[in-house]
C-alpha cells in the first residue's frame, strides 16, 4: 500500500481504545452480510478506530488472496476441465471436419480499433478484475459502448482483457488508449498509455 495515503487518511483513533467491534461482526461486514442500520453503526466506528479498521483491511486482503490461490483459480492448463475440453474439441473436429473447414473459410472480418479511454469505457473496465468477461450484461454494455463510439460491430460473445485494468493517474485527466481487436465475436482488449 502507499505510505502517504495510508498515513494521510487512516482512522483517527489509535489502537488503545477498549471499545471494539466483535470479530465475527467484522467478518460479517467483510462478507457484506450486515443490514443497513448495523452497517452504518459499524462504518462509523471503523472510521475512527485503527485497530478495528486494521483487522478488517487485513481480513479482506487475506480472504481475497486465498480466493485467488484456490484450486478453482489454478492455471487453466492444470485443470481436469481443460483435458476434458481438449478431448471434446478433438472429437468435434474429427466428426465435423468438413463443416469446420467450410466455416473457417468464411470467417468474419477482423476489426481493429484504438479508442481514447474515456470514463464510460473505464467504468466498464473497472467493474472487476476478471480477464475473461463471462457476464452477458457486461459484454453487452461494452458492445453498446463500442457501437456508440462508431465501431461497426454487431455482436460479441466473449471479451478477453490482456491484463487487469486499474485506473491510472486519472486525477488530472485520462491519457490512455483502449486497443481493440474483434475476431469472430471475440473482443481482445488492451489498455496502453498514450505516447
Amino acid at each position: 500500500m502507499g505510505k502517504w495515503m495510508n498515513k494521510t487518511i487512516k482512522p483517527s483513533v489509535g489502537t488503545e481504545s477498549e471499545d471494539h467491534i466483535p470479530v465475527e461482526d467484522l467478518a460479517r461486514l467483510a462478507e457484506g452480510g450486515v443490514d443497513t442500520a448495523e452497517r452504518r453503526h459499524l462504518i462509523g466506528h471503523l472510521n475512527r478506530c485503527q485497530r478495528c479498521y486494521q483487522i478488517l483491511q487485513e481480513t479482506l486482503k487475506d480472504v481475497s488472496a486465498e480466493t485467488t490461490l484456490q484450486p478453482g483459480s489454478a492455471p487453466w492448463w492444470r485443470t481436469r476441465m481443460f483435458y476434458a475440453l481438449a478431448a471434446s474439441i478433438l472429437l468435434v473436429l474429427l466428426i465435423g471436419g468438413p463443416l469446420a473447414i467450410k466455416q473457417w473459410t468464411h470467417r468474419p472480418r477482423v476489426i481493429l480499433a484504438s479508442l481514447d479511454l474515456d470514463q464510460g469505457l473505464k467504468d466498464i473496465l473497472l467493474e472487476n478484475n476478471a480477464l475473461k468477461w463471462e457476464k452477458k450484461e457486461r459484454v453487452s454494455r461494452l458492445l453498446t459502448a463500442l457501437q456508440r463510439r462508431g465501431l461497426a460491430v454487431k455482436d460479441l460473445n466473449l471479451v478477453l482483457l490482456a491484463k487487469p485494468y486499474y485506473q491510472k493517474k486519472s486525477l488530472f485527466g485520462p491519457e490512455e488508449v483502449l486497443h481493440i481487436r474483434i475476431d469472430d465475436k471475440v473482443a481482445y482488449l488492451e489498455v496502453k498509455e498514450k505516447d
Binding site: M1, K3, T8, I9, E31, R39, S64, E66, L171
Partner: protein, 250 residues
C-alpha cells in the same frame, strides 16, 4: 456446533496462522513467536475465542479476522513496552515522533520531516531539522538493525508501492515537491473527513489500503460498479480542492 479442538488442529488453520504471521513480520524468530502466540491464544480459556463463533459469517472469514486481531495483540505485547530513549524524549514531542517514524516504522528522516510538518509537530525549515536530528541519530535504535516496528502497519506492507498503479492520489503525492506535498496531504485529509461516513471508508479501503473496489463495495453495501462511480466523483472532489490551492500534477 464446530469442534474448536478439531479446527485448531486442522492443517488449514495452521497454514492460515503461519501465512498471516509471515506477512506481518519479516524476522523469522518473530514469525515463529507470532505463530505460537496465536495458537496459545486460541487454546486459552478452553478455546473461548473459537467458541465465540456463532455461525453468522463464514468460518473462513471469521478465522482470518480472529487471527488478525490476535496478531495485533501480539505485536503490542511483543514490542509495546519499548521506550523512547530519554535522550530523544527530552527533545520534545517532535523528536519522539521522529524516533517512532524512523526507528519503529522504518521511514526515512526525510519522510519523518514531512509527517511532522503535516501533523503540525514541527515548523522549522528542513535545514534546521537536519541539524536538530543529529542527536536522535545517535540514539540506540540506529545502531540496532534488528530493531522492530511496533506500528500497527508493518514496514513490509509499504514495499510494493507501484507508482504507476491504481492509486492516483498516492501517485500525485509522490510526484510533487515537498511543500506542495505537505499542502496536498492537508487538503486530502480535510476533504476526506468532510465526506460521508460511507465515502470515507470507501476511500480509506481503496486509496489508503489498496483494496479492490469490489471488496470495498461489499463492505459499504454497494454494487462494485456503483462504488466505482462514487470513487470517480470523490476523486473529482479531491481534484477540485487541490486545484483550488494551486496543486496539480507536474
Amino acid at each position: 456446533m464446530m469442534d474448536p479442538e478439531k479446527i485448531l488442529s486442522s492443517s488449514d488453520l495452521l497454514a492460515k496462522i503461519e501465512a498471516v504471521c509471515k506477512r506481518r513480520f519479516s524476522a523469522e524468530n518473530d514469525q515463529n513467536e507470532c505463530y505460537l502466540y496465536v495458537i496459545d491464544s486460541l487454546k486459552a480459556d478452553n478455546f473461548k475465542r473459537l467458541r465465540a463463533f456463532r455461525g453468522k459469517s463464514k468460518l473462513n472469514t471469521f478465522l482470518y479476522a480472529l487471527i488478525n486481531s490476535l496478531v495485533i495483540d501480539f505485536r503490542r505485547k511483543q514490542f509495546g513496552r519499548r521506550r523512547i530513549p530519554a535522550g530523544v524524549a527530552k527533545l520534545g514531542k517532535w523528536a519522539e515522533a521522529v524516533y517512532r517514524f524512523v526507528c519503529w516504522q522504518k521511514f526515512s528522516f526525510d519522510d519523518a520531516y514531512d509527517f511532522l510538518r503535516i501533523d503540525g509537530l514541527y515548523s522549522g525549515s528542513y535545514i534546521e531539522f537536519i541539524k536538530e536530528i543529529e542527536s536522535i541519530k545517535k540514539a540506540p535504535c540506529r545502531e540496532n538493525p534488528a530493531f522492530q516496528s511496533i506500528d500497527e502497519t508493518p514496514e513490509s506492507a509499504f514495499k510494493n508501492i507501484n507508482p504507476e498503479g491504481a492509486n492516483p492520489l498516492e501517485f500525485l503525492i509522490q510526484k510533487i515537491d515537498r511543500e506542495n506535498r505537505i499542502n496536498a496531504i492537508k487538503v486530502i485529509r480535510e476533504t476526506t473527513v468532510a465526506f460521508s461516513e460511507d465515502d470515507q471508508l470507501l476511500v480509506r479501503l481503496v486509496y489508503g489500503s489498496d483494496l479492490s473496489v469490489a471488496a470495498a463495495a461489499r463492505v459499504i453495501g454497494l454494487p462494485a460498479a456503483t462504488a466505482g462511480k462514487r470513487l470517480k466523483n470523490l476523486l473529482t472532489k479531491y481534484r477540485e480542492k487541490l486545484l483550488a490551492v494551486g496543486i496539480r500534477e507536474p
